[in-house]
Symmetry: C2
Subunit: 660 residues, 2 copies
């Protein structure tokens, strides 16, 4: 039985919502457009399907607001219009819907079990090139059109209300996000509404990131924003009401984690909540600011997603928002490394899900993006800074006077990803493989320092300085062989003379690299001190950055402003990935988890318990008192401990006495 | 002194208005989206300029509706917002305006004689690639924003009002276009408003192309539409008022023409009026229907434009609307020939104006479009029908079973145009020249029929049929040499056994070809019979098609519907070109009319008088009683009569006794 859905041109739902999302950043009451190119949906879309139906039926081709259209049906000499009933006698017809939306997303909906719109329709951008229509289960009714993102809403109430600083301060008890409605306003008055992730921010109109002055209305419906605290101040005496809703993406957690340190469970829960808040139309960096989609941040969010919800939809949406559409004149987010992460992400997405249809559909765009990358390499095939490029890697002192080693390792990894994707798309992988092989040789020749036992940042200046970044990538991506990876652990990662990573963003990569080398304990210790440190300092969601030395409101300062630090940042979700991947030890060994491995490690924990999602199921791992038990409802699992392997049978708990 | 103007990314004003224009077609009260791909403006635009000013000034960066923005000024640590005053002390600043419009055209305006926005600003689509900002003199005030096309308006009044068919029929005396306002409506009533280019159409609600039912308002402001007649009918008794405005592009005619046949002057005036009505945002095909921009029709309009107004702006706008932006997945208007006309048009535009900046700015798009053409040629380099292509040439019986000769001659002409354009852009013309040379050889080998003394349509079927089309192109574009052109005149154009051209569209090409071979008389006779025939049948503007055998309302039928024939069609303006080019005899002999020739011919006229526009001036030609006089206010002119040449001196009338 066909489930009718709103349909549109693949990728344009994401491009449309990306434009909405990226127009919402607020800085001190000012608009803040994104610093990169954005794209547009195709204004003209054709939809076609041939349907045979043995009975007469009356259908309506509904269009969303802003979409005009015309309906041509084989056998009918005159065309029909949209949004009015059309009666079709029994028979076989080719339906051709021609849509046009000059301001938004062209979309249509036929609510009929025979003629209904769904992914079985073919769509084009007005050209002859038809592809499968896009749709999602979120838009299956006439009322819910895809121009409005399908969030869920729960009413939330303040846990404390306080008269302070000439107004009322509402404390919702924890970081949250959603629309606020203020009633009882005297329309002749000016009402000042100041949002705060911290109490201090809400009370500091001058320096708070998000505030709004309301006047001329009795009831103000304010747009969804991040807050824990809201301070409302009237010019005149007033008696206001305030209602708030939590706006969220209704995805259920599959994962869970606890251990003998009760603080870790608390950290894990706050990480999960933080990650939920940042899982919206797309993975955002932070819900107060930037509220933008950054490829580097998203790359880490994709990893965490697979260990918390395993929701392919948000990963696909995020990839498509970042990808835009050709022609490409700019790196993703203007950052060279971020283009490479996006390419690597596509392969990772495929490896986790086995969703080859998605890869094939967008393969031409990825090839165009990669052609843009190749067109800007230097004569040696290295990624270098061209006009308009941002060679980022990390907020860190690094010798960037010439090509960077870290960037070339990412390029090598991206080339390998392109090779694997090419094979999937029945195309020649050899050029990508050759590029990767040439790059590997070049990197080892030019950046490896035998005396320092490390990859240097850059060879052009002669400084031969070493930072952690390239060496972390060399471990993480298995660029280096086992012997050299061990060498890098000793001479770089465990060498205090090498400057420490300072950003949680890159710290995550370091922890992944350490864990992959068996050093789970480092991650566990940092989770306790760094993540735990925030919670001890009152965090209800994980912050963009944390300095254990800072005191009070000093924690909220960053980028030279008192509340510049986002107090709810997606990359704070890292422990969910780290603990799921390296403590519970679950990972795919074949595409789409057709086979997977459970390789638990205790590290510093005496016991641990947790669940990791799998496609269509999960795996539960418990370790306590020398007994390890593993239970999964999926096929293909293998338990690996102490160099032994044990098959996992779907639905049968495996218990083994062991010391981890 | 700087004249501040609204600025935008080049080409996007045209793409934005093209979307508006193409969303306005109405067919029997139904929406009718264009049948081809449309494009979108870039949503993110950056604008930059460094300005030095010796005094303190306060500026505002205004944005048009829908555009958000942010202002960064060198030396100021925090950014500014748009639409609020910013005070700049004396000094030198780099201004960087970051605009974002997710639904329309990003545009901004600084109204300041120092910091003001104009074409001296640089803009990008959010990438690093900056180009000169686009602006037009039509948008130089805060109030007039570029989202609303700058038409002029005159109030117009009906010449007759008649109670008929249960309503009131307003006759405005001639074809016109504009908004209508109906007042005094009973909001509980349904008021039926029916537009007619003919009286019959206005009175025939069922079959009229454009009609609207109004209810729920006291005053109805109806969108601008084409009409001569408007019939208004109420359900209840009513006492309505009707006001109408003529909406038009304020361009002045430079040209003029008269001769000893007074009917020709009348025809010329109706042609000019028809052409004005169709000269809007872009050259449209017809003002009632389709109201679309077609490249073939536009190509002819560009020619007429140069002999009526010589307005480069509307030609550029039309080229840009047709051109869209890469990537190209479809031929212009889906028609292969129409892509080729657009390429030829760019060279023609340059040759008429010398506007090399325009060519250089859009050269990358033309190259991408041409790459699309090349990518779809067959193994012999011929233009063939690929999926989604429409090989049109003309509404005419033609052997289209394989590659068409007419299409290949157009491709040859386009390749030569690309070669000339490449040279202008300092690029290698050789590949285009070689392509043209190869094509010429192929066409002569495969399509020339020595026995028929003609180019055949197609060789694959073995039918070897001859139509006029390819042979007209062979003359018009000097594909054939002089001897063969004479052969073609005798054996094809003057051969009654070859099927006549039936469409005014291609008839225009035939007349051009005939005139170029000295046969002005044919054009003059057809102007009298065909164009004059319409006027004798009551035309107040030139129709899409005219059958002298038809009677009464039969004239209005076409495409199988009673009023399918547009009664105001741009290509009706052809006589303006033909008489200016071949009777008055004015044409450029160097780029931008740096030199030009006046080579008058009388044909069947005993006397004639006229003016032809030149860039920045005009030339007046009078011939009466054996005296020819020529006066121009431009340099570079040469009079050529009877194989003699005479220099024309700016401002000095040249009089010569001669027989033309």
């Amino acid at each position: 039985m066909l489930q009718p859905k709103w349909i549109w041109y693949p990728g344009d739902f994401e491009i449309y919502h990306s434009n909405l999302v990226h127009s919402r950043r607020e800085d001190y009451g000012m608009e803040y457009p994104p610093v990169w190119m954005q794209y547009s949906p195709y204004p003209r879309v054709d939809c076609r399907k041939t349907v045979k139906c043995e009975e007469e039926r009356t259908i309506i081709v509904h269009t969303n607001p802003g979409t005009m259209g015309m309906v041509t049906i084989s056998g009918f000499p005159r065309h029909f219009t949209v949004n009015v009933p059309i009666t079709l006698p029994a028979g076989e017809y080719e339906l051709h819907l021609r849509l046009y939306n000059t301001t938004g997303l062209p979309s249509c909906f036929i609510d009929d079990t025979y003629y209904g719109t769904d992914e079985s329709w073919r769509v084009s951008n007005g050209s002859f090139n038809y592809v499968q229509a896009a749709a999602t289960p979120a838009y299956t009714t006439l009322e819910k059109t895809p121009d409005v993102f399908a969030f869920a809403y729960d009413e939330i109430r303040p846990v404390a209300v306080e008269e302070v600083a000439g107004g009322t301060l509402y404390d919702f008890g924890k970081e949250t996000f959603g629309p606020v409605c203020i009633g009882g306003i005297d329309p002749t008055d000016n009402v000042y509404v100041c949002y705060g992730e911290s109490r201090e921010e809400a009370l500091d109109w001058e320096n708070a990131y998000v505030h709004q002055m309301v006047s001329g209305v009795e009831t103000a419906h304010l747009v969804p924003r991040a807050f824990r605290y809201i301070h409302v101040r009237c010019g005149k005496k007033c008696d206001l009401t305030l209602q708030a809703q939590y706006e969220y993406l209704p995805i259920c957690d599959v994962a869970d984690f606890s251990c003998d340190d009760p603080m870790v469970e608390k950290i894990w829960d706050v990480c999960a909540y933080t990650f939920h808040l940042n899982s919206r139309e797309f993975f955002q960096d932070g819900i107060k600011r930037d509220r933008w989609v950054w490829s580097g941040d998203s790359y880490q969010s994709f990893m965490t997603n697979n260990y918390l919800y395993m929701d392919p939809e948000i990963t696909k949406r995020t990839i498509l928002a970042l990808l835009g559409k050709p022609p490409y004149d700019q790196h993703v987010n203007t950052i060279n490394d971020y283009t490479l992460y996006l390419i690597i992400s596509l392969w990772d997405y495929y490896f986790a899900t086995g969703d080859d249809a998605f890869v094939r559909l967008y393969w031409p765009r990825f090839k165009a993006l990669y052609a843009f990358v190749l067109g800007r390499l230097d004569e040696d095939g290295q990624m270098v800074q061209r006009p308009g490029d941002w060679i980022f890697i990390d907020w860190s002192e690094m010798d960037k006077s010439g090509p960077l080693c870290a960037e070339q390792i990412l390029l090598w990894k991206a080339a390998l990803s392109m090779a694997s994707l090419a094979i999937l798309c029945n195309e020649d992988a050899a050029p990508y493989r050759e590029q990767a092989a040439d790059l590997k040789k070049l990197i080892d020749e030019r950046y490896w320092d035998e005396e320092k036992h490390a990859y240097i940042d850059c060879y052009t200046s002669g400084k031969r300085s070493v930072t952690r970044h390239a060496n972390i990538f060399a471990i993480l991506y298995n660029f280096a062989d086992e012997a050299r990876k061990t060498e890098l652990m000793e001479h770089v990662l465990n060498n205090d003379a090498i400057t420490q990573i300072t950003t949680p963003y890159f710290k995550f990569f370091e922890l992944c690299a350490r864990c992959s080398m068996g050093d789970l304990a480092s991650a566990q210790k940092l989770i306790a001190s760094y993540w735990g440190g925030m919670i001890e300092n009152g965090a209800t969601s994980i912050w963009e950055q944390f300095d254990p030395q800072a005191k009070g409101a000093e924690h909220y300062a960053m980028y030279g402003t008192p509340y510049g630090c986002s107090l709810c940042h997606a990359w704070g979700g890292g422990p969910i990935y780290l603990l799921g991947r390296y403590c519970l030890g679950v990972y795919a060994t074949e595409v789409g988890y057709k086979t997977f491995c459970v390789q638990p490690a205790a590290g510093i924990y005496g016991e641990f318990h947790g669940v990791v999602p799998l496609p269509g199921g999960s795996v539960r791992v418990d370790y306590k008192d020398g007994t390890l038990s593993v239970l999964t409802d999926c096929d293909g699992g293998t338990l690996r401990i102490n160099n032994e392997t044990y098959p996992l049978h779907n639905g049968q708990k495996l218990e083994i006495n062991c010391t981890l």
